[in-house]
Every structure is written in structure tokens, then in C-alpha cells.
Symmetry: D2
Amino acid sequence: MQIGLIGLGKMGNNMRTRLRNAGIEVTGYDRNPAVTDVPDLAALAAALPAPRIVWVMVPAGEITDGVIHDLADVLDEGDLIIDGGNSKWTEDFKHSEYLVPKGIEFMDAGVSGGVWGLENGYGLMVGGTAENVERAMPIFDALRPEGPREEGFVHVGEVGAGHYAKMVHNGIEYGIMQAYAEGYELLDTKKDIIKDVTGTFKAWQRGTVVRSWLLDLLVRALEADPEFHDIQGYVQDSGEGRWTLEEAIENAVPMPAISAAIFARFVSRQEDSPSMKAVAALRNQFGGHAVKELD
Amino acid sequence: MQIGLIGLGKMGNNMRTRLRNAGIEVTGYDRNPAVTDVPDLAALAAALPAPRIVWVMVPAGEITDGVIHDLADVLDEGDLIIDGGNSKWTEDFKHSEYLVPKGIEFMDAGVSGGVWGLENGYGLMVGGTAENVERAMPIFDALRPEGPREEGFVHVGEVGAGHYAKMVHNGIEYGIMQAYAEGYELLDTKKDIIKDVTGTFKAWQRGTVVRSWLLDLLVRALEADPEFHDIQGYVQDSGEGRWTLEEAIENAVPMPAISAAIFARFVSRQEDSPSMKAVAALRNQFGGHAVKELD
Amino acid sequence: MQIGLIGLGKMGNNMRTRLRNAGIEVTGYDRNPAVTDVPDLAALAAALPAPRIVWVMVPAGEITDGVIHDLADVLDEGDLIIDGGNSKWTEDFKHSEYLVPKGIEFMDAGVSGGVWGLENGYGLMVGGTAENVERAMPIFDALRPEGPREEGFVHVGEVGAGHYAKMVHNGIEYGIMQAYAEGYELLDTKKDIIKDVTGTFKAWQRGTVVRSWLLDLLVRALEADPEFHDIQGYVQDSGEGRWTLEEAIENAVPMPAISAAIFARFVSRQEDSPSMKAVAALRNQFGGHAVKELD
Amino acid sequence: MQIGLIGLGKMGNNMRTRLRNAGIEVTGYDRNPAVTDVPDLAALAAALPAPRIVWVMVPAGEITDGVIHDLADVLDEGDLIIDGGNSKWTEDFKHSEYLVPKGIEFMDAGVSGGVWGLENGYGLMVGGTAENVERAMPIFDALRPEGPREEGFVHVGEVGAGHYAKMVHNGIEYGIMQAYAEGYELLDTKKDIIKDVTGTFKAWQRGTVVRSWLLDLLVRALEADPEFHDIQGYVQDSGEGRWTLEEAIENAVPMPAISAAIFARFVSRQEDSPSMKAVAALRNQFGGHAVKELD
């Protein structure tokens, strides 16, 4: 099997390697001439046997949008585009509709696994027709972890369903990380009682109810930098968490823990909190409580 | 009527004035010789006609504890102590039991109103026997706001009930302040749309559903310092909010909004967040996401 | 001054009365022949002197959309439409743009006050040009509460700003109501301590930090039905709370208390909780903890 | 090695089996004559070689308290009691102090693993002196999972530290379960998009960031009862979550996600919500919004 892969960044580059290791021929394209296999998309199309399969692995939003439009100009009827990036699921509808008149097929694939996917394989959640799933299965089998297919791959539903599932996956991820983090902070605060914070997390890796891959990573991080001396408590969010919360609101699904995780990230990025200024001002007004003035 | 008043700080001093304005004779005692009316508690006891009434208005905890024990040594059977400070309600049980063998009566009074109480009167929530409530009613009538008694005073229940009600009052206060503060932050963030943040709050003071005294104070604060330029978003908490939350936990009462208000204050006082360090470290581990390193 | 008013439901009918009481001539239109002053929009337009002012007070969404489009067909250049309903602020942009080519002016007005507005007046937050605000000021002055104009009216910004401010107002309202409700639940749960729950809330109405109009209404409700025997804990939400939360997400504004209020409403409407089923199932899996089976 | 084990319920019975499989002689005592090895505690003490080690595995609170006091009457100086139940960490101080005058040693051991511990081993967090840890290590090695000791066992600190760590472990567990549950509810709600909810969770088991043992259990539960038709969304809580939250409050540690998980359980057990009754009553008061009346 031979496929095209657009985007050879941190994720795409690893995926190219994993696919090649599995015997799939990959022609990669990236704007960065140092890593690309072909000079442009036309060359990519020319290099692939028809009907072509092209996996898009670029940042969500305008860049993905642009790539899909550009691809539409060089691909032919019957070709298949798979968006493996972190696109919002509603984008999939747009992309699919854009491609229909040209006869180009479309699938979305949510991909989880991070930088470890090269070695461990990637958890895959895909949306599209059964025919397209069947057609691309060798790619999915190459990317997913070893073991039973259904433990590392799922055909979630129609176009958009893969990214929807991936979005919720990431929302859950936010919540789990926040849970470990809150527990960490309490243990870290009670060092008069807890003499070995890192050792405590380490001891949870086997046998306990909270064992998980994220726990293993937390242990790894604590062993590298106990008490996180070199790390600021400043956390970005990449979109999926917000979209999950928007979907919760839209569908009247209560989501108190995941929303807490997202709000904690928002706060972490603020130099000072406007809302807490307001509360401090109020306390000063009614109780004469001192406020901390800025120098 | 003549009573003793212990503690002539920000609150106690105002209360002495309001009581005197209402025609109640007040003998005040404070450790600060500049403001006290008598040199010590013995002199206070000597100055009051038996059976005495002494209102205690000192910081909750050890200081209140000490004052009540010291008072017990100079008061006589039939005297009445009213703790008007912010004591935890469980302290009232202790104090009442301590005084029973000496025949000294005890009541607790939750007092709200802050520095404005001198002028507006204080909202009062008291716990104790009907006899003691009756006996101290002239004091309550002097302290409470004008208008119907039941709109500024309540006999909540037995000893402890007054402080319990005041505790919940303050828990609610935390939640309300947080609600205004979150709304403020959103308006403040959207200044491309909201051209007059202060004016918006100001316009809510009459007619709208959210009009309140706290809103009036927020407007006052915004008019004094628009955008809170001189205020840090650093907020203390004084105990009642935590106790409210502890009681919620103890009684399986869900309290998501009030707890959110309390946690927001905790965060506001952190220079950096251990939990957010942990989340940043995790994201770095699985995704290679950059962390902000400390300099 | 003479204006048109479309929508004579609970809110619109009261507003017509208040406007008329203030000496403004109002021609009302409603689909309900029992309350309308004119048979159709054409008759409404014919009844008004040019340049006309028409206040739209119908349910947000499709109905408001339809009314504005229909109005555009019967109004002339220079006329002014004011949307006083609960439209989402982004709708205002659409409506304004739709009317521009026809030379019809547009303003949005957030209106708060509920069924009490007839008597108390309505808090008003408006968006639009300074010229249009000036032109409609007699209407605003008639609708707003007595007292200084700036305590019951604000020109928030351009078109959309009025509804934006009203949206945030309602988000805050959700948070405040939740704070009182959580406090109520704790007091109600501790009736061994709190012998007079209604009386406690009643006593907060004067003097305390939490006094507010919503508190007055809570007292009114408790006096009508102590312990809320006849009321189910089932709470709708009308849109503004969700939009506020969406805006918080969009703008990275932490909103833990207001979101908690919204999620509590979502939960209140569920017969059973899918998420709690999942937690119960998990506990059963790892700990053999019994689950409650459905009959 | 030979030890005593008190409490042969779901957990204790499995632990006896695992210990015996590892070659440790176990004399078990339980009030239930059908499962006990000896008729009473005196017989247990007589059956063990001095200095004795006795592992207590009974419900936390009064029962553990009673067992430790009864044990103190039949044990001798130099014997060691290990409390492996879910006692609150502050209980450990009490128990340890009670035993000191009798020369009986004490350790606390937090044990995680549930009904799966028999096969997988139990994650262990212990508090006590280094000497006692050393002395009991063969027991810990028998109970903990295979693999490196430090991945299934930790000496957390002095007496109480083991249960403290276990408490936080369970708090984290609450948060993680809530995160999966919220994600589940959203996927379950969007079945127009998500055609295979169980399959989606199943596909996360390998390769994804959220893979964990709890996820494996959730898949197991979903496969046994898709959509949880036979399960009510009614969830108990066993104490550790509440204590974790109390500790967070005591130490000013923000804990929004874990608290959300606990509050969700509280709500799940309510037939109707007093707080939501209050909100419904308020909406009715200001807006005339209909309330759902009880039949």
C-alpha cells in the first residue's frame, strides 16, 4: 500500500516512521523543505497510484482548511482524504461537503498517543463510510497499537464522529489530569505528613484503582524534577476541552469536573485575576478589609 | 439599660456608638488603653448593675475563648454573656457548657453589616433560650436596622444556632460575590463590545433582578477605581466560608457554587499553582508540549 | 410621543401599560386578536407617525427573526426598530445588517425586571448609536425605574452591546440564585439547629451583607410555601446562562460558580443521571459495591 | 512467617488467600463463625508466636476502634497491630497513642485494589517506623502486586501517613471516575453522532492518553450492560472523598474537580433537590415562570 501524508511535524513525522515500519509506502509532504519527500502537492499527487489515499496531519483550523482545499485541486474523483489532525468535528461536515462535488471521499480520524505513539501505537477513532473504513484499514492497523483491533481502533460513525469522539476523549483527559493534579497539590502541601510524594505516586502504578498511563507519566515527570522546581504552573489548552464543554452546554449535559479542569487552566495563565480584584474590592467596601495594593 | 461591651475594634467601637445613640449605657473594655472605658474586666463587672449583660465582640478562636474564661471569673450567677463575634458555632456549645456550672447564661449572636452597620444597623441572628432573647431584646432592637424587627433580627434556635445561621449567611455571601465577580471579568474582557463597564453595573441598581447591596458596593468600588487598577486580585477568607463547606460535606449537601467561590480565593493567594505545575508536566510528558520554565 | 409595540404577552402587556401611564401613546400588535390594537403589521405602520419607532418584545430566536423581517417590509427609511426581547447578541448584528440596506435603524435593549417591572420599572441596557439612544430616550425614561437615569439605564455600546450586558446580567443572576439556594439547602437540612428557616432569610432583608431583591423574593416564596412543599426541584434555563458560559469559554474567562449554577439546572431536569450510572457501574466493578438496580 | 488477620469480609478473605498463597501462615478471626479460624481474639493471640503481628481489616470507625481496644487486651509488649482498613488518618494517632503505654506497636496501611487484589495484588501505602516497616515487609511483599516493590508499595511517613495517602488516592479516584462519567454522558447523549459508545471506550484501552484500569473496568461494565439499563444513577460515598475535601479546605488547596465529583454523588442520592426547589421558586417569583408542582 502507498499513501500520501501531509504534515511532518512532531506527530506526522513519527507516524510516517511507524507506517513505513509496517511496510506501508509513505510519500510525505511538508512546507519545510528539510523534511518533505516531494516539493509540492502536485508532486505528491503524481507520486501516488490512483485511487489515492492522503492523510492530512496539520494544525486544525485555517491550515487544515487550506490544505484540504489545495488537495482538492490536485486529487481526482475516487481519491480519499483522511483528516487525522485535531479538527473540530463541525469542520468535517464542511470539508466533506466541499469535496462531494469533486467526487473526493473524506474521513476524519481522531488520533491519540502523543509522542509515544511511534513506539506504542496510536488510539484511533474514525468517522466515515464503511467502504472508506475498509479501504483505509491497512493504515489504521499500522498506526494502532498491537493487540486486538477493537482495543485501539473504533469506527465511531459517519463523517465527524471520529473527531467528536476524540474531542470527548480529550475532555476526559483534562478531567483526569486535574484530578491527579489536585491530589498532588494536597500531598505536596502536607509534606509534614507525606515524606515521599514521588514515592507515593510511584507506588500507585500497580494494583491500585488509580493506575493509568497518565499516572506513569506523572511519576516519570516527578522523578525527573521532584516538586516541579523548573516548571511554571502555566497551562495552555488546545481547543478540544473548550469544544467538549460547548457541546455539554448545547446538550444540557452537566460537566462540573471537566469544566473545573478547563477553568483552572484559564486561571493559570492570568497574571492577575479581574474577578478576584472585584471580590477584594467588595470585601474592602463592606468590611474595611485591607486590599493588597499594586506597587 | 446598661451593658458591658468587650472589644472596641472596628466593629465593637461602631456598635458602642450605635447602642449609646439608642440610649443604652455602654461600658466598654478593650486591651487598648486609648479606647477602653475601664482598666480591666473586674472593673467592668463592678461598673455594671446585676444581673449583668456583657456583649463580647473580639476575634473568634483563642481570643474569644480567653475572654469568656476570664469573664467567668468576674461575673456572677444570673449574668448573661452574648458572643457577637464570628465564632464557629461548635465553640458556642463549649462556651455554654463551661458557663453552666457557674450559673452564667450564654447566647450567641451572628452580626452582619460591616462598617456600614453604625449607620444602617446590623442584621442579627441569635441563638439561646427564649428568656435570654427577651432579656437582651433592647440591645438587639438598638443594633438592628430600623423597620420591622423580623426583617433585621431572628431568634434562630438554641445556643449555636445564631452563629450557624451567620456562617451560612457568609457562605452565601461568598457565592454572590463570586457571581458578580465572574460577570465583571467577562464584561471587562469584552471591552470591544462593552464600552462602559462601570455604567453597566451602575444601571443594574434599580429595577433589575440582580440589584442588591453588594451590587451597590461594587458600583461604589468601580467608581472609586475603574478597572481596579490599584487592587490586587488577592483575597483572604475568614473562616465562615470554609465552615459552611465543611458542614455541606458533613451533611451531604451539594454546594458547587459556594465551593467554587472559596477555591477561587485559595487560588488567588498562590504565587504559583502546584496542581497546574503537575498538569503542565503531564502535557509535556505525553505531548512534548513546551512548559514555561522558571528563570 | 407615539410608538408601536409588538408582542403583548406577560412582559409586553405590562410594558404597554407602563408606557401609557407615562404619557406615551402605544399602538400594540399581537397575534392574539384578544389583546392586539391593530389587525396586522401594515396597520401598525399606518397608525404610527413617521419616522416610526417600533419596540419588538417577542420570544428570541425564530419568532424575533420573523417579526423583524416582516417589519422591514412595512417600515420606511429612517424608522427605528428596538429589539427588547432576550435575543442573543450575535443576532443583533444579523438584524442590523439586514436592515441597513433599507435605511431602517436598529437598537437592542436588554430588559430586566420580570413581572414586577410594571410597578418598579425595568432596568435597561441598550446598544446602538448615540443618535438612536437620544431619539428613544423618552421610551427608556418611561420604562426605567424612578430615580437617577444612570441607576436604571445604560448605553452600553454599539448594536449588540445591550443584549450582551443583559446576557451577563442573567449569568450573574444564575450564580446569585444558586448561592442562596445552596445556603437554603444547608439550613433546611440542619433543622435540628435551625428552628426557623424562613425567619432566618427574613431577618437578612435589612442590614446584612446579602440583602437583595432576590432575597426579598425568596422570603416571599418561603412565606407562601414554607419548605417548598408544592414545588419540584426542576429548573428550566432560558438561554442567557448558556450563552454567558459559551462567552466565558470563548474568552478564557474562568466561570466556576455560574457554570455550577447552570449544571445544577441541567441535573435538576434529569430523571436519572447517565454519568452517575457510569460511576455506580465503576464502583461495582472494582469494589463489588452494590448498585441500585432499576425495578 | 505467621500472622493474625481480623476481618474476613470481601477484602479480608481475599487477602488471607493471597497471603497463604505466598506462604504466609494466616490465622483469621471474624465474628462470623462460618469463616473464622479461631473462636475469639484470645484464641487468636494464643495461636500466634510472639512477638505477634496482627492485621486488622474491618470497617473504619467504631468497629476498628473496638477491635483495636479489644486486641490491646490480649496482645503483649512488642506485638504489632497494622490497621489495613479505611480508617481516617487522624484515627491512627489515637490508636497509636492508646497502644504506646502497653508497648504495642502500631502501623497504618492504606490498601487499594478492590475485589481484584486477590489476583493482581494490592497497592500499599504504609505509615509507621522504619523498624516496623522492615518487620512487616514479608506481608507487604505478599500482598503487593508483582514487579518492582516501589511500584506497588510505599513507606509514606510516620503513623497516619499511610491512611493519608490512601485518602488522597481515593479523592483522585473520585475525580477520575467523574471525568470518565461526564464524557460517557456526552457520548451517550449524542447517539445521533456516536453510533458505538461502548466501542469508543473500548478503543481507548491501548495507545490513547486516557487508558487506565478504570477505563478497562468501564468497558467491562458497558459490555455487560450497554447503556446501563439495569443500573440506577445512585452513588454512595465511603468517607475518603469527604475527608480529602476537608483536608483541602483546611490547607487552602483548591480542589474544584474532586469536589465536583463528590457533590455529584450527593445529588445522585436526592429524591428531589431543596436547592433547586428554591431556584424554581425564585424564578416563579420574579418572572412568573411556571414551577412543576408536586402531584
